[in-house]
């Protein structure tokens, strides 16, 4: 009698398990969904490369990134009188730097930014403001320079792994230590050695951008 009951219990248990297996565990589905959702992460590939042969620094990179610039509140860097030089990809008669964290700027001496309709955004002191239409003037009125941002001159030197000069277009969150200022055509230049910087807005923060000697 007891043996019969045990058999019946085994059979019924097996039946329950069988039904469970046929229907499947909903918990399994949930965890699978979680695994699927956590697997969908995209990556961004940085492809900036630099070479320091001769006196020209070439920089190329992908153009699809949307990373933001970096800013800093730490110490300013040092500069040892190196010479600024033009560098970058030669781009249809225009010197262009572009990098993952690059920003476009008007060329040396506030050269020109013109709108698609021929309207330039020029401030009342003649300083050119880079606008959406800046590209339109590239190669016609002046160079468009795309530089990268660094916290300081030291930070640039470490990242760029060069010691001979800092490329035009490069932007620092702080001016180089020991700079002097000079004003030319209404623009204040920060000078260290033979390198000239001027102030620009990057992401709403004042930075110091390397420019060609303005005079």
């Amino acid at each position: 009698m007891i043996r019969n009951k045990t058999k019946i219990l085994y059979c019924l248990s097996a039946l329950v398990i069988a039904i469970w297996m046929v229907v499947g565990s909903p918990l399994g589905d949930v965890s699978a969904q979680r695994q699927r959702s956590s697997a969908s992460r995209s990556t961004t590939t940085r492809s900036t490369t630099r070479s320091t042969s001769g006196s020209v620094q070439h920089s190329t990179a992908t153009r699809t990134t949307t990373t933001h610039h970096t800013t800093a509140t730490t110490t300013a860097g040092y500069h040892h009188g190196s010479t600024a030089y033009h560098g970058g990809t030669y781009h249809g008669g225009t010197t262009v730097h572009h990098g993952e964290e690059g920003y476009a700027a008007v060329g040396p001496r506030g050269a020109v930014v013109a709108g698609e309709e021929g309207a330039a955004a020029v401030t009342r002191r003649g300083v050119v403001v880079a606008g959406e239409e800046g590209y339109a003037a590239a190669g016609r009125y002046g160079g468009v320079v795309v530089g990268e941002t660094y916290e300081s001159h030291d930070a640039w030197r470490t990242a760029a792994a060069v010691t001979t000069g800092i490329a035009i277009g490069t932007m620092l969150a702080h001016p180089p230590t020991g700079y002097t200022t000079t004003v030319y055509s209404g623009t204040t230049y920060y000078v260290m050695g033979t390198t000239y910087y001027r102030r620009v807005y990057v992401s709403g923060v004042v930075h110091y951008q390397v420019v060609a000697r303005p005079f």
């Binding site: 039946l15 039904i19 961004t44 690059g102 920003y103 476009a104 009342r124 590239a138 620009v200 004042v206």
Partner: protein, 285 residues
């Protein structure tokens, strides 16, 4: 006979257990499918009330205290504490002044945006689209100046927060003695929460976001204060009064916003052999 009763009883019990198990399973599945849809709809409804309230006001002003992460080169995160006074009048007037770890005053009048930094005594100007929403999009995409508050308040229709793929929940929490609905949303790019009072004007008291796909997964927390839906403003509120001693400086665009167009522009220039007027003459104000 007794055995038959046992068999019947145990069979019924087993079937009942099996069906219960199946039922529970289905019920869990239903929860994961139906409940989020319901809670998302509820969260969307509360959010829509907030947006409607703001958009129905002729002008709005408020203050924020922001704690924001800024990813830096090398992967580290800079913590910024910024207070901001904001006034706007839809569709084409915006003013804000950021202090603390930022020094920036911005004036948008429907045509251009002027930035001023008082510590550096500089200012810059960019041409702007005709609406606040488009301008917010532009200054983020082209100039790297995101304004998540505009996105939250519904001023930026293409922002990353308002996303049809959002899933949302509604919880209750008391902030500063005020009971709030906490709307928690998530989509592919961002997890975000907003605290909206359960009673009275549905104006946000707090906002938090984590940008999952941005470098360093930066977070931002914003507390709102001093909401005013009828501030005393004039058109001068949105016009910059630039001191004579201030120097105009360029506003730099992100390369990603310029380079593709640069190529197109150069092709056009090469083809047209342009003889356009010197922009220094054509564009002076």
């Amino acid at each position: 006979m007794k055995i038959q009763k046992w068999v019947i009883a145990l069979t019924c019990l087993s079937l009942a257990l099996a069906l219960a198990a199946i039922g529970c399973g289905n019920s869990n599945t239903a929860t994961s499918n139906a409940k989020p849809a319901e809670s998302t709809a509820k969260a969307d409804e509360i959010l829509a009330k907030m947006t409607d309230k703001i958009k129905s006001s002729p002008a709005v002003s408020f203050k924020t205290a922001e704690a924001t992460d800024r990813p830096k080169r090398g992967g580290s995160i800079e913590k910024l504490n910024i207070t901001r006074d904001v006034t706007f009048k839809s569709p084409d007037k915006l003013y804000f002044k950021a202090t603390g770890d930022r020094d920036l005053e911005a004036f948008y009048d429907g045509k251009s945006m002027i930035l001023m930094s008082h510590k550096d005594k500089v200012w810059g100007q960019l041409t702007a689209p005709p609406t606040i929403g488009e301008t917010v999009d532009k200054i983020e995409a082209h100039y790297g100046m995101p304004l998540p508050v505009a996105d939250l308040l519904g001023l930026d229709p293409t922002g990353t927060l308002r996303n049809s793929a959002n899933t949302g929940t509604v919880e209750k929490e008391t902030v500063g003695g005020v009971e709030c609905n906490v709307l928690k949303f998530q989509n592919e790019n961002v997890n975000w929460e907003v605290w909206i009072p359960a009673a009275g004007d549905p104006l946000p008291k707090k906002f938090h976001a984590k940008y999952k796909k941005a470098k360093g997964q930066p977070e931002s927390t914003i507390e709102f204060n001093d909401w005013n839906l009828s501030p005393q403003i004039t058109d001068n509120t949105f016009l910059a009064n630039i001191p004579d001693a201030y120097e105009g400086i360029p506003i730099i665009q992100r390369a990603s916003a310029v380079i593709p167009k640069l190529e197109a522009g150069e092709k056009a220039a090469a083809n047209s052999n342009s003889n356009a007027a010197a922009p220094a003459e054509a564009g002076k104000k």
